[in-house]
Symmetry: C2
Subunit: 350 residues, 2 copies
DNA sequence: ATGAAAGCGCTAACAT
DNA sequence: ATGTTAGCGCTTTCAT
């Protein structure tokens, strides 16, 4: 009786019971087939598979979760500023996590926090509700957030950031190498007065890029006394790049090349140069960092250090999943290699 | 015995059973208190509440879902291009939905689709898995997607878009009004040769903005023969705006004002003007549409039509929830009012 | 006003 | 190789 009612409302999902009845086996057998467990005979397996197809059966997540004590969700946290960032950097990383999560049959829950998060502020709801099996934190976040999260004993992986306190697994780009590549490229093209421009200087990634810049200059026995280093701790943005470039050129140092801490900054720098009749790359060469889409649209196309954003998201999910499964505590670090993309914004002056 | 083990591992979450034991009531009573059901005496209510607090109890979502046949999730779909869009427009709308979803104790699952989605392509997994109670679609999406989704009989609300086929509930901005406001503003400031620049001309929102522009010109008995309308069907972007402005000024029509279909386009237009020594707003006034953060950072700040993005997301969630609850089929439409934000990019030439 | 008990759909011992 | 059964944590009649 009940069953016939169910049959009428085709909209409802078939359950494991329906499949079992249809295939004339027990629900346990169906479960075993679905999960590729045990040695089920080819015959029954086929029967069950057929019934599954016929009824268009999909296991209920809710039921699975209830019994497995896993949510099948991954939390993704970043600051609101980063999420709304003009250049789609963290959004691409998110896309990478979404992609990989799908591959391993998980969902990603996105939550933004204020970049001025302080102790006692509310955490994303999925944490207190334990609606995630693990958490990915992307970009620089306040230490207070890291502390709050760590109290929950949920596996966490950081992307493109590493908290100063504590020792956490993370996925970062080889920023030092990137800084070296970018600066070496300029040096090899005959540049001597090479400036560095960047904000968020307290972000470890940026510090490393600057270190790469300095190291390259040192190795080439070039001026690296810091006169041409224009940094601040404001957000990395076009505007910031523009203003920094302005200050830099007011120094009258005959600069012929600029390494910007990221592409957004580079765009601002380029804008300043254009507004002030410095030809790119004839008068000044510019190198960025990140490799965002806009690099190719801008004129001239920006030479930059490519950061594989999707890959970072993918790696983070994989790392997180091993942590969830093994619940082991080693703080594994993954360093993603970078490469230089030489385009029109740099030129040899040899 | 088992219980004591549980007590040891404090990390585990308290269950309704633990609370019941602690408060010395039945689990049914706890459930009633948690859900504010039935007439529970003040006394027991207090006892239970105290136990809940003591054990830091939070009901398990998985269990609730299993019994309620609801997932507590809302799906949010947009094209990958829109998600990665340079100006944070749809991302802000998403933030609005996230905000409101949290308020009503739901989660938002984000999924992107290709803007070239065609029949037979895979839908976001949360649909086939029925892991959402309803869906929000933001921005223009291919008709094929709308068709595929509609087969699933899941409540859907569109934001900033309305499919041509079928009749769906949606939340849109008053684009016609916005077009009127923008153009009237320019007319009232003495402009006569007012151009319209925009891409994605087949997007209903853009069409409406253009209609507003034309209507305003008509009412003022100004030239609206379409000579000054520069449109195409490419993506709305700075680049597109730049190129369109270039074409426009090659027409030599003595244009003194431009209404751009959105802010990104306006930025491109402004860039062209700057590159070609047209002063803003002295030589040319520019009005945009959307009101994104960058409007205030650019020089001069952009006059624009404000679209309340967060509010749109909020409205959509509320609308979707009433649909989920009542499962009624009326395709309610919500039109969000707009307002003109006059800033430095426009000037009177009277 | 409160409790007992029957499921929700699934997994995983344990039987057979 | 397959079936039986006991939960997972919760909601919800139906008793009391």
């Amino acid at each position: 009786m009940l069953i016939s009612v169910k049959r009428l409302t085709e909209i409802m999902c078939a359950t494991i019971k329906d499949v079992a009845e249809e295939a004339k086996v027990s629900i346990a057998t169906v479960s075993l087939v679905v999960n590729n467990h045990g040695r089920i005979s080819q015959e029954t397996r086929k029967k069950v598979l057929k019934a599954i197809k016929k009824l268009n059966y999909l296991p209920s997540r809710s039921a699975r979760r209830l019994v497995s004590r896993k949510t099948g969700n991954i939390g993704f946290i970043l600051t609101e500023e980063h999420f709304l960032h003009t250049e789609p950097f963290y959004t691409r990383i998110f896309l990478g996590t979404e992609f990989e999560a799908r591959a391993i049959d998980h969902y990603v829950l996105l939550a933004t926090i204020s970049s001025s998060y302080k102790k006692g502020d509310a955490l994303p709801r999925f944490i207190s509700e334990r609606n995630v099996d693990g958490i990915i934190v992307a970009g620089k976040v306040p230490d207070a957030l890291t502390e709050s999260i760590s109290r929950y004993k949920i596996p966490v992986v950081f992307i493109d950031f590493s908290p100063v306190i504590g020792d956490y697994p993370n996925v970062i780009t080889d920023n030092l190498k990137g800084g070296l590549l970018a600066t070496d490229h300029l040096i090899q093209n005959g540049h001597k007065n090479i400036a560095f421009v960047g904000g968020e200087i307290s972000h470890p990634s940026i510090t490393e890029r600057l270190r790469g810049y300095k190291l390259a200059l040192e190795r080439a026995h070039l001026n690296s006394d810091g006169e041409l280093v224009m940094t601040n701790d404001e957000f990395l943005s076009r505007q910031n790049g523009y203003n920094s470039a302005k200050k830099l050129f007011e120094l009258q140092k005959n600069i012929t090349a600029i390494f910007a801490a990221n592409d957004a900054t580079a765009f601002g720098v380029m804008q300043y140069l254009k507004d002030n009749n410095h030809k790119i790359p004839d008068d000044v060469s510019v190198v960025g960092f990140d490799d965002v889409e806009a690099d190719l649209l801008i004129d001239p196309p920006l030479t930059t250090v490519k950061v594989p954003k999707l890959e970072m998201g993918i790696e983070a999910v994989q790392l997180l999943l091993t942590m969830i499964k093994s619940s082991n505590g080693t703080a594994k670090k993954i360093v993603i290699p970078v490469e230089l993309k030489v385009r029109g914004s740099t030129k040899s002056i040899n």
